[in-house]
Symmetry: C2
Subunit: 198 residues, 2 copies
């Protein structure tokens, strides 16, 4: 498969990752627009001054949270596709990878999926390109499965619909369902496989 | 079917509905937390003072936008179920009703689905009850279809997943797809029917 944008993961300091986690939790709970930099400074214990040593602005922090989680998802999804040929295995493993992100990193995924509108235009374009790169991995899986005769042809709306099933689940799933991830992944993969079957 | 909460639609003045439409567009584009009452006053042409004649607060305006659109959806969905027996017709018509709301009232639906976290707790409970009432209509359709042998048994996670497919689509669909509503509804209904088939 062609290598799309931003496949690699970027190393981040522990302090920066901790700030991103706390900020993601605040953005997720209260909405990005309702959280001030002061509040992030207080919640992280850095205060506003020291916080700016690690982040450039609240907008950049939002962009970084989205970028890193989408890059991680893309990286994992590409590995799954490279290492597995069968459509059932691919869909099952992609389903589990995405569901695990939604459940275990619920605050970060909520921000990734809900706050795109809050980004500056050029940053939004970059984040939407990552969304597109992730979608493209699933599209390739569907197309490969059509070539082998396992799947019916699927159009762009149907693919986005099926992925929306996962993406929307950030709203009703949280970390208290962590032990159910394999079950949830199997149920959603079942819907994908049944609805795409040739 | 038992009559759940808030089935009826409440009459609203034209001025109030117009304010809700403009506010929904602002909340949808910029995020609820990033829009001030001043801005709503300017955009509607009332100014802040006269605006308060029609709305009690920004929070109440958000609550009213969510409530009215969910009530309309519930009202329409209950009529569809009452007037149609076959599972294919029910799923097709529910699919079209929901898809039409997502596409034609995209700003309002975006607010309904994305800004629940911004509500005060008691208002959030009422809005979540309406979400639940809407979900219950689809659940009844799935259960009826299981009784007739058309559908396999479906659990709560699967049902929420399938509806998430529609709900998430507010992010990638907008009013420029208005002419595609019947097509989009048919594609999504096809996914529901295929994935639930006994």
């Amino acid at each position: 498969m062609a290598k799309g944008p931003a496949a690699s993961t970027v190393p981040i300091s522990d302090a920066r990752r901790r700030i991103m986690k706390i900020a993601a939790e605040l953005f997720s709970r209260k909405g990005y627009g309702s959280v001030g930099t002061n509040e992030i400074g207080e919640a992280t214990g850095y205060g506003k001054g020291a916080l700016y040593y690690y982040i450039r602005s609240k907008g950049d922090l939002l962009h970084d949270i989205m970028t890193i989680y989408l890059r991680d998802l893309i990286h994992e999804a590409r590995q799954i596709v490279a290492q597995n040929d069968g459509v059932k295995e691919r869909v099952m493993l992609l389903s589990e990878s995405l569901m695990r992100a939604v459940v275990e990193d619920n605050a970060e995924m909520t921000v990734c999926l809900r706050e795109v509108h809050a980004l500056e235009e050029d940053q939004r374009d970059r984040v939407l390109a990552l969304h597109g790169a992730y979608l493209q991995i699933w599209r390739q899986v569907m197309e490969d499965a059509h070539v082998t005769g396992d799947f019916r042809p699927l159009d762009a709306d149907e693919l986005k619909g099926l992925l929306g099933m996962y993406f929307y689940s950030f709203l009703w799933l949280s970390s208290d369902r962590a032990k159910d991830v394999p079950d949830l992944a199997r149920k959603f993969a079942g819907i994908v496989l049944r609805s795409c079957h040739a």
